[in-house]
Amino acid sequence: MSYYLLLSALLFAIGLYGVLARRTAILIFMSIELMLNAANLAFVAFARNSGNLDGQVMALVVIALAAAEVAVGLGIIVAVFRARSSTSVDDLAELRG
């Protein structure tokens, strides 16, 4: 079962690379989704490992949290795009209105 844990660690690292290397807010967001899914895979693998359903419940909670996060995050991206006509994080380096 540690195979899936390693796989989840690898997916999480790939997502981390995406968050650091991407320059567009939407693609950084997609990398964060990748990291959340990696954590979910670890939860499900642990649930299978210990024969306990709590891990799957936790993964379900994470999916619901991710849905809320996507709604707010994409709303912020759309609002920022309206104000700045850009979603590149390099253009948003100053915190001025």
Partner: protein, 185 residues
């Protein structure tokens, strides 16, 4: 380790790499959809049937459609934009991700194999047993998620409403500003 595990692992890693490296944002989003679908099959294999279907419906369906919709709404398909303030960021990110993977792998190396005495009581991860947990010991978490989803819905609607951008100023503040303007003149 079965052939399914190997194939699923290769597909997962390949689609994840495609999602973080492809130059076109729509292509990256579609790679991410593939990643989520393969992950759903892995959930089925790990006796998490309900979670697998939720993964397909919520993630591969709703969330990714929202992503693709926003990408197309903002004409933002070009992924390689920006002024490149930090050109050294990409190799640094790769190095950091590698270090992080090694650290996680080291942490997971302490996790033993399946305990032979622990009987598998997952019941296939069907909705019935899951629901008994969700509406039993996890009830408060479910309620908190309900509040969170409601708040997030309101926040999303308010954020994208064109009229309410910029803080509304109180009448006193407006009056004071008018006075200051008269002094300047």
């Amino acid at each position: 380790m079965s052939a399914f595990d190997l194939i699923a692992g290769v597909l997962l890693v390949a689609s994840a790499l495609a999602a973080v490296t492809l130059k076109n944002a729509v292509h990256a989003g579609l790679a991410l959809v593939g990643n989520f679908l393969v992950l759903a099959t892995v959930y089925f294999a790990l006796e998490a049937q309900f979670l697998g279907w939720i993964q397909i419906i919520v993630y591969a369906g709703a969330v990714m459609v929202l992503f693709l919709f926003v990408i197309m709404l903002l004409f933002d398909a070009k992924a390689d934009v920006g002024t490149g303030r930090m050109p050294w960021m990409r190799p640094l990110a790769a190095a950091l991700a590698a270090v992080f993977f090694l650290a996680l792998a080291y942490a997971f190396s302490g996790v033993g194999p399946v305990h032979p005495l622990a009987e598998i009581k997952l019941a296939g991860g069907l909705p019935g047993p899951l629901g008994r947990l969700l509406y039993g010991p996890w009830l408060y978490v479910v309620l908190l998620i309900a509040v969170l989803l409601f708040a997030a819905t309101v926040a999303a609607v308010v954020l994208v409403q064109p009229g309410v951008r910029g803080a509304r100023k109180k009448p006193q503040v407006l009056e004071r500003e008018r006075e200051l303007g008269e002094v300047d003149r």
